[in-house]
């Protein structure tokens, strides 16, 4: 075999190995496609927002039942349990797809990570409050939960219209 063929073979196997590693660790189908990762993040955020929105509707007394609210908070608890590295993989900042994530998110990763990590405990408290059934406590826990979302949105999200 000449050098060129060896090089191509080596490159292919390294690429294959990398693909397998990243593909498995992030658990996404289009692992190497940043635009798809942005889409997936947006779906995660939509799931979280939809969940929070259902609780909000319940608190406002605008047509959501207690059952809707507890389904919503369950979705939020589940989505917020994802690994932040999988939700915010490197190379998915603004400019990729219609990403709204500022590059500062990765420059300031420890804050981003702790912001993300604060969501699930708050959501679990909200879940407990919903089970308790005291509307005032639910409202309070809802405010605390949205605060955890806001911390990250304030620092790391650009405003889209």
């Amino acid at each position: 075999m000449n050098n060129r063929v060896v090089n191509v073979l080596a490159a292919t196997s390294v690429a294959g190995l990398l693909f397998a590693l990243f593909g498995l660790s992030s658990g996404t189908a289009g692992a190497a496609d940043p635009a798809a990762q942005v889409k997936e993040r947006q779906q995660t955020m939509k799931a979280m927002g939809g969940g929070l929105g259902a609780v909000a509707k319940y608190v406002k007394g605008e047509g959501a039942t207690a059952e809707d609210a507890s389904k919503g908070v369950a979705a939020l608890v589940a989505a917020s349990g994802k690994d932040p590295k999988a939700v915010f993989p490197e190379g998915t900042e603004v400019g990729v797809g219609d990403s709204a994530a500022k590059p500062e998110l990765w420059k300031n990763w420890s804050k981003a990570q702790s912001d993300w990590g604060a969501v699930q405990p708050a959501a679990q408290k909200l879940q407990a409050a919903l089970q308790g059934g005291d509307r005032a406590q639910v409202a309070q826990a809802l405010a605390a939960t949205s605060k955890t979302c806001g911390g990250c949105h304030e620092d790391f999200r650009i405003k889209k219209n």
Binding site: G51, A56, E62, S146, G150, R157, I158
Partner: protein
């Protein structure tokens, strides 16, 4: 003092003449503040105004680890970058030497104690509507804070915006000094809401687009600003149904002001996230309801 006195003078004859029936709407012609509380010391009342007026955010360089209210935060605008000043009671670098009259004049007329004009990046086009009583309460609160010796940083503006001597002309064209009397035909909550939105909250400074000279465009009041702080788009908060808040319930509005949650379940970020955190979440529920009551009446501008 300045505030409570006229209210008492106006309210007393009403109370004697009409018994309890005099509380619908503000006393005729009185100024709008209808305070959340008249109890406590001036500094305690001032603390509430401080939150409602959102002073903390701009006057603290939190990203650079700046001391509270010591200024130095960069405000990037289409006219250049402003660096907010130190408003702690430090006598050399802050406002510690300002008299009551100096303080009122800065907010009412946009003029510094030495007589030079302030840039309207300090939103005196809105704060001019604050009552003297509220301004003095706010001053009492600020003067009770810890002094910081941080020196002020000069603004970084390009001509002609760097020519401070032009500012009086701007003020002559665009500044309508307040305060503004209540609209007696409207309920008290509406008048309070208008005061919170226009005077204290200075909502229009971001939500109303600006003309080429940086003045708020009155005919697009609260209709959104495509070029807001840090280049962000600021949404329309008139009653417009498309991009405005025409379809929002009172509960949608008050919940956003309290928690940052939008009806879709999103949580606001950027500058509004900061406003919710520093300001509207700290208001009383009555005041948030008043803001909603007022905003719902703002004419729709698409």
């Amino acid at each position: 003092m300045g505030r409570t006195l006229p209210v008492v003078v106006l309210a007393l004859p009403l109370a004697f003449a009409g018994g309890a029936a005099a509380d619908d709407g503000a006393p005729g012609g009185a100024v709008a503040s209808m305070p959340a509380t008249t109890a406590g010391s001036a500094a305690e009342r001032g603390a509430y105004l401080f939150h409602a007026a959102g002073c903390q955010g701009c006057h603290t360089a939190s990203e650079g680890g700046g001391e509270p209210l010591a200024g130095g935060r960069a405000l990037k605008t289409p006219f250049g970058t402003f660096y907010t000043p130190n408003i702690t009671p430090d006598p050399a670098n802050g406002i510690g030497r300002w008299s009551d009259a100096d303080f009122i004049r800065a907010f009412r007329e946009g003029v510094r104690p030495d007589g030079t004009a302030l840039y309207p990046a300090f939103p005196y086009a809105s704060y001019t509507l604050m009552t003297d009583g509220d301004l003095l309460d706010l001053k009492a609160y600020l003067f009770a804070q810890t002094a910081a010796a941080a020196p002020n940083k000069p603004h970084d503006l390009s001509p002609p915006f760097s020519w401070r001597f032009l500012l009086p002309a701007w003020q002559w064209m665009y500044l309508t000094p307040g305060p503004r009397p209540d609209e007696p035909a409207r309920p008290a909550a509406w008048n309070r809401g208008r005061y919170l939105v226009d005077a204290l909250g200075h909502c229009g400074e971001c939500h109303t687009p600006r003309n080429l000279l940086g003045a708020m465009e009155a005919d697009r009041y609260l209709a959104g600003n495509p070029d807001g702080p840090d280049g962000d788009k600021v949404p329309n908060v008139t009653g417009a149904t498309g991009k405005g808040i025409g379809g929002w319930s009172d509960g949608d509005l008050t919940l956003l002001l309290e928690t940052g949650l939008t009806p879709e379940g999103d949580v606001v970020g950027g500058a509004m996230g900061e406003v919710v955190r520093n300001s509207t979440s700290k208001l009383t529920a009555e005041d948030r309801a008043a803001i909603a009551a007022y905003l719902k009446t703002v004419p729709a501008v698409e």
